[in-house]
Amino acid sequence: MGMVDGKEHDVVGGSAPRRLLTALLRKFGINARTAVVLVPYLWLLIFFLAPFLIVFKISFSEIRIAIPPYAPLFEYLEGVQLTINLKLETYRQLFEDGLYWKSYVSSLRIATLSTVFTLLIGYPIAYGMARAPKDRQLMLLMMIILPFWTSFLIRVYAWIGILKNEGFLNHFLLWAGVINDPLQLLHSDVAVYIGIVYSYLPFMVLPLYASLEKMDHSLLEAAADLGCHPLKAFWKITFPLSLPAVTAGCFLVFIPAVGEFVIPDLLGGSSTLMIGKTLWAEFFNNRNWPLASAVAVVLLLLLVVPIVMFQRYQVQQVQE
């Protein structure tokens, strides 16, 4: 509220050109106060929203061997006649060629399963953290955040050394006598699941911990006093109360995992289909920009619902 009366102060002082500029901006209703929101707003409009429209536009263009490798959507023939080269060719290709829809289905499947695994592994960790002595909790929290600060690429790479045929895991299992021949783990879907769970685990644990840590312990005590089994109390009280955090964590893992590129590329095999990899290959290897754009448009359409749900949740969290 105090900031509203800022207008009076803005024009006071300053050199003549500065005063002129302020007066000019004021004419369009721009003062220091509106500029604070206007600058990031315009930046995001130009570098976040407008790019999507361009992707949308190029997905309807025709591929052409040129720089850039697509035909313009609008062209002036002989300088006068406007022709519109709107092609649905790329979208037809997208639906007819099995590679693309198989990639989408497989991405959704891998992302869904990995999200479930991340939840199953992340929940006990978050729960344990919330139950730890108060003075230890901050350190545990730091330890969850620390891997998030270290390079994603490096953390994925670390698994190559563990999972490959002569890697640590196979060495260990052979030594322990569990297996007689090394397992083919690297370049398989299993490796991709491990990679996603490992990389996105902090995203799941953080919201869960934040929610479990705030939980009112007296509810569980009341349940115990009334003779409720701890497991049942967990299922009837703790879990439902943490449900919003479960949702947030799942979205934070699921949405980026669907479009993941690095993990399937480094850990997955040639049979591991994921749409991020397909888009990358289409763009960098085949140089088919219109098709890569169409792949991105359909991917975005698939993710619109989860993204909007995630945002709703975020806004709600802030308002609480």
Partner: protein
């Protein structure tokens, strides 16, 4: 939840943290391995670090990466602070929903989409790809992280000191720089640090938006990783992990000191 921990709680913490840290620890240990084989220990050596320093391509890429990270995180911190401030202080303004959307969506947007869309934009406005385009791209997604960090800090901000300053005739801009900014400075600093590491880390968006002659460290590392595990990559990774760990430790120490000083001041004020 401050009851005693069960065996299950202990077990899940031990297993969970081993899962998180074992791969990184193995990677660091084997960067000091004598042998070229990365998974068989044959003696301590720092020769891979020496090789690294002699690798001009890596050094050049590292310099480029640091330059991009420094510029983009500084810009992102300025814009992100402005965005976070307007999200908390401006209530409902026209286009607020769109603004919120543009702040939260980049946090979860698959990188391939962001990268592709930015590249096509730079081509459409015929901007030469290189340092500038990577920096613009990194600024865009980093500022959203900064905005979220600042938003959560500002929503718990005690506004009475600001109001006191303004009641005494301090102009709003001056109030912001003299009162608000020093108080939210730790959040601004951690926003900057977060942007810096995000930029340092990014492979996908940089690959899309870079041009010839502008190779960042992750791009360089990635092209070598595709060929397999080598001790050199372990060595680069160890250095990067070391830098980040130092940064985080220093930041948390600064935070702790600040908390302690605040407690002492409060103690002095009340006694």
């Amino acid at each position: 939840m401050r009851s005693k921990m069960s065996l299950f709680n202990h077990l899940s913490l031990i297993l969970g943290f081993s899962f998180l840290y074992l791969p990184i620890i193995l990677l660091v240990i084997f960067s000091f391995n004598e042998s070229r084989l990365v998974t068989v220990w044959s003696g301590f050596s720092v020769k891979w670090y020496g090789k690294l320093l002699a690798n001009e391509g890596i050094i050049r890429a590292a310099y480029m990466t640091l330059k991009v990270a420094f510029v983009s995180s500084t810009l992102a911190t300025i814009f992100g602070t402005m965005a976070g401030f307007s999200m908390v202080r401006y209530g409902r303004f026209r286009g607020r929903t769109l603004f919120n959307g543009m702040i939260y969506a980049p946090l979860v947007m698959p990188e391939v989409i962001t990268g592709l869309s930015l590249l096509l934009t730079f081509v459409a406005i015929s901007l030469d790809r290189g340092f500038v385009t990577i920096t613009l791209a990194h600024t865009t997604f980093s500022m959203c992280y900064v905005a979220v960090v600042l938003q959560s800090r500002l929503s718990s901000f005690d506004r009475s000191i600001e109001e006191a300053a303004m009641d005494l005739g301090c102009p709003p801009a001056k109030t912001f720089f003299l009162i608000t900014l020093p108080v939210i400075m730790p959040a601004v600093a951690s926003g900057w640090l977060l942007s810096f590491t995000l930029s340092l880390d990014d492979l996908v968006i940089a690959s899309f938006t870079s041009g010839p002659g502008a190779t960042t460290l992750p791009m360089k590392i990635y092209s070598q990783m595709r060929l397999g595990v080598t001790p050199e990559i372990n060595a680069v990774s160890t250095i990067l992990i070391g830098i980040v760990a130092c940064g985080v430790v220093i930041a948390s120490m600064m935070h702790k000191r600040q908390v302690r000083r605040k407690e002492r001041d409060q103690h002095l004020a009340t006694s």
